[in-house]
Symmetry: C2
Subunit: 360 residues, 2 copies
């Protein structure tokens, strides 16, 4: 299959997303977007042995330095970003330099924030190497780090010069991480694109078997759908909230279990099914439709319950079901039908409690 | 004198600078620019006892919290900014919050960067309380912190919602700090505004005696001049460099002596006179004109030499006079005539060396 290009139209900040195979053996995707002579590759201890030399080989005419960070969400901190600043300054990199994020979402978020802040803004290129980061970090410009008191609390909106998605990098992704990424792909079908949902249902076995052509189609469509939603809601006041489909439940699972027990995508998988079940309870979906959601997630080897690991009271608390009672229900993204979601707080609290009980 | 307002036209990012007396007793300048209900005042141990309660008294209907940081350039770090994030999160401040910088340039730079980065951007208001920050930080949107390997290496361009300059806050500024601020005011006259230079020459004794009406005029004109230069060069590639008049020499002085021996404005004072002397050597200025520059600085109680504190070889090294020989001369801002400056590297290296020798 040929390389596909999705051009994101953001005025002066427009950039292309290249999607295909073998992109990391072709220098032009990268070098066409590097203006100066100084390049810093930021990656981690897992990805560096796999792809760092491959990327460096494309940049032989430039001054290339690298920062290899420890791997894991727990390192997504201001302290770790400071290691990037240290390396940039030790190498005397100036404002014309380019930072390349080579890795998953954590590397992309930190590198983007470092690029936004180094000398008040330098060039930035993303090479996402996980399915999750390919569909989730390529569009939207969100960069940042966690703080001990909250996730993604410190950051900037900052757009890359280009995103290079070589789906061959997925060959080295373990099955669990791959499935977790598929949860975010499925999200785009469920929340707003019935045709894409049908495509996923028809092809899920081949997708899970990592058919590259199908992956490129799925990643492309996910990026298109995300870009459309983001474009309609730059200020994050309305429609962009739909991107959180499954996430309010999912975050409650992550917060209760502690990070690392469920991968993010796994928690979102359970969260999306909970949202579907609640949507059924209030009369929007049929049994068959909820079954179809569950079936798609199970065929993706994703969890569909918390398997008794959380008790319902803890879950209530994490969702703040009772705390927010004074102000009314918390807002959730529910399904109107398959492939269409909406923001709602007009459900019965007892219905939400029933769903949580059923899943715990 | 009435309050003056300078409206900066930056499209969606436009904001007013209010200048006058008694502004910190009038709530509307502040409250008209606060959208949400959460306000965090960031100040330091020197300014807090003087003005914190005064500002808080204007905000009685809002949730107001404060962060009181240690005073000094050595605290302008990522670690200190993190204390602001801590306070924001401990107080559960959300995206609708407003950060108020109450203090000098260090407080303004750090607060601006914290506002740019907290939850990817929250509202920000500046109340500069030193003459230097009133003329230098009110315009240009530069925020940031120092890194062990370089000054202002980490930051963002981020505009405030408004700037409130109450010149009464200068009553508590010590004479040395006040004069150092005056060096930056004089800079605007020397680098590009002959009429303003004439005004300063005519009124310098009254300005140093802190005549409030004259101060407001001088601060207003400095902000207008800076805004005009910044507007002509948003990307910092050309004309904006003129704002560094006196700064290449000045930074060499600061770097050689270590920070704190000379105040920034004091180093700039010597640097501006060195630039004037070099301009004379290459035939642009007369003896009388250089004397006029020196006279203005001396009447402002500013230093006009380094008084034997630096030897010439150290100064050469700090200026990289010899290091950069391969690439030609370093670029300096020189004077074409009084009130007009230009960027130049077409001087003789021996001329630069002579100037440095003369001042050491």
């Amino acid at each position: 299959m040929q390389t596909r290009t999705l051009q994101l139209d953001l005025g002066k900040k427009s950039y292309p997303i290249y999607m295909g195979q073998n992109l990391l053996t072709q220098a032009q995707f990268l070098t066409n977007h590097i203006a100066g002579k100084q390049v810093m590759i930021i990656t981690n201890t897992t990805v560096a042995p796999l792809y760092l030399n491959k990327v460096k080989a494309l940049l032989s005419l430039l001054k290339v330095a690298e920062v290899i960070l420890p791997d894991g969400e727990q390192y997504k901190t201001l302290e770790t970003v400071n290691l990037i600043f240290d390396a940039l300054l030790e190498n005397r990199f100036d404002r014309s330099c380019t930072l390349i994020a080579l890795g998953g979402g954590v590397i992309g978020d930190m590198t983007g924030f470092a690029a936004a802040s180094y000398q008040r803004g330098v060039n930035f290129i993303q090479i996402p190497t996980t399915l999750l980061s390919q569909v989730d970090s390529s569009v939207g410009g969100k960069t940042g780090v966690n703080h001990a008191l909250g996730k993604n609390m410190i950051g900037a909106f900052y757009q890359p010069k280009c995103v290079i998605i070589d789906v061959d990098t997925l060959d080295t992704l373990d099955d669990r991480q791959y499935s977790a990424g598929m949860a975010e792909v499925i999200k785009y079908g469920l929340l707003g694109n019935k045709a894409f949902l049908t495509f996923l249902q028809a092809n899920i076995e081949s997708l899970i078997a990592r058919d590259k052509d199908l992956i490129i189609q799925a990643v492309y469509q996910s990026c298109v759908d995300k870009a459309n939603i983001v474009a309609q809601d730059e200020l994050e006041t309305g429609k962009r909230a739909l991107l959180n489909f499954g996430h309010t439940f999912g975050h409650a699972i992550e917060n209760t279990l502690g990070y690392g027990v469920f991968l993010h995508g796994e928690a979102i998988s359970v969260g999306m099914l909970m949202a579907a079940e609640l949507s059924k309870l209030i009369g929007n979906l049929t049994d068959q439709e909820v079954f179809a959601v569950k079936d798609l997630l199970e065929k993706s080897n994703l969890p569909v319950s918390v398997n008794g690991k959380i008790n319902a009271l803890e879950f209530f608390d994490a969702m703040r079901v009772d705390k927010k009672a004074i102000d009314g229900n918390i807002r959730l993204i529910l399904m109107k039908k398959l492939g269409e979601s909406y923001i709602s707080s007009s459900y019965q609290k007892e219905q939400l409690k029933q769903i949580i009980n059923d899943f715990c």
